[in-house]
Symmetry: C2
Subunit: 233 residues, 2 copies
């Protein structure tokens, strides 16, 4: 029976600047019945990564919040009311340049990690040193989409695997060579992980087990479509 | 331990026009160790729904394929080379107006179901009559996104549940009232299901178990952002 499992990691404490996320994950796993296994993937919401890296700013009033958004934005694409769609310095296109006040102590806002791919790599390396198991790490965030209501979790950082599952040129179920089918598998994994994390539950880490992933050195930032390829900028 | 499971339903035969998808699913389940359980969700790729509904056309050469795309499109948004981004008659914005030649016998192309929400409803009702269990049904398709490379599976039809998990106005983990957090949970479920379906594996149906879903009467077509709300048309 082919199946995948998405397992919430309980017991991650409130993260403070300077904390090592990998240590927090290992301690939480030790106190749980869950064992990290070869083949697993780990999804970590960016929010705890940003907190550990000190990427938190004051945002006591709307003016300081707006200033943080301006600071994080490299370019503003659209504005409507309180909503700003911006391109961040990394290149991500998202609401409010990733500056987020939910699940943050009042009067504070969390920014995106400076380099989420590097953050993922660092967590993966620390976990590998501690456990001997090389588990790919995905760092997720909740993004809106043009054209569709509602938000979904996507990958803003990754380490240890390919980001795209490429079916181009492979035979499909009918033996026909498939046309362009490049699945953004790290985004699908981030979305799957969000189903156990929930937004109000304070579960910032999930293990995803049973996915057919390919080892690789992809970066999530490379999923951002180059402006020249993009038909909708 | 909070977890969700995504289970591939094996043994769905090649679907022909006039087939009842619900019957095919029930027969496949009977021959498998998997039992449909209260609380489960069912994800069905649109391709078998379209085949059952006879939404298959000849597409032996590029001209007939292009004609099918024109026929399915209500408006063309962008063209580049062979790629057309169109709004379908339903309102979905997707590549080639949803006309797809992969996983289809050579010389044929599959169109989107005429009304995927109604198709989902019909499958759900048939399953409920046969099993006594009311399982929400999501019909999925693989869509590209502006700004991000790679495709992900999203929901184009749904029956029996809310489409959006709305955390607006609910306290977050810090007791702070959350700002706009509306999770397109049916899209996240479709993405999770794709992780066991794969593109070359011919697994068109998956059970998703353990998700905290809300019963409801949402339609997937309502996830399409109204043009007036959309900042990127």
């Amino acid at each position: 029976m082919k199946s995948i499992e998405v397992i919430a990691v309980p017991g991650i404490p409130e993260i403070e600047p300077g904390d090592q996320i990998a240590d927090s994950i290992l301690q939480a796993l030790e106190q749980s019945p869950i064992e990290l296994t070869r083949g697993d993937l780990l999804v970590v919401t960016h929010k705890i990564v940003s907190k550990a890296e000190g990427r938190v700013v004051d945002s006591g009033d709307d003016a300081t919040y707006r200033a943080a958004v301006e600071e994080e934005a490299q370019a503003i694409l659209r504005r409507r009311g309180d909503l700003t769609i911006a391109r961040t310095h990394h290149g991500f296109i998202c609401a409010n340049a990733g500056v987020d006040r939910s699940n943050v102590p009042s009067g504070r806002a969390v920014l995106l990690p400076l380099n989420p791919d590097r953050s993922a790599h660092s967590i993966r390396m620390q976990l590998r040193r501690a456990t001997g198991i090389d588990v790919p790490v995905i760092i997720s965030d909740t993004f809106g989409r043009p054209w569709r209501r509602g938000q979904t979790d996507i990958a803003i950082g990754v380490s240890g695997m390919e980001a795209i599952a490429d079916f181009k040129g492979k035979p499909d179920g009918n033996g026909r060579i498939m046309e362009a089918t490049e699945i953004a598998i790290i985004d699908e994994i981030a979305s799957a992980a969000d189903l156990v994390m929930g937004k109000a539950d304070h579960i910032p880490v999930a293990i995803v087990r049973g996915v057919a992933w390919e080892p690789g050195e992809a970066r999530a930032i490379d999923l951002v479509r180059p402006p020249g390829e993009d038909l909708f900028r």
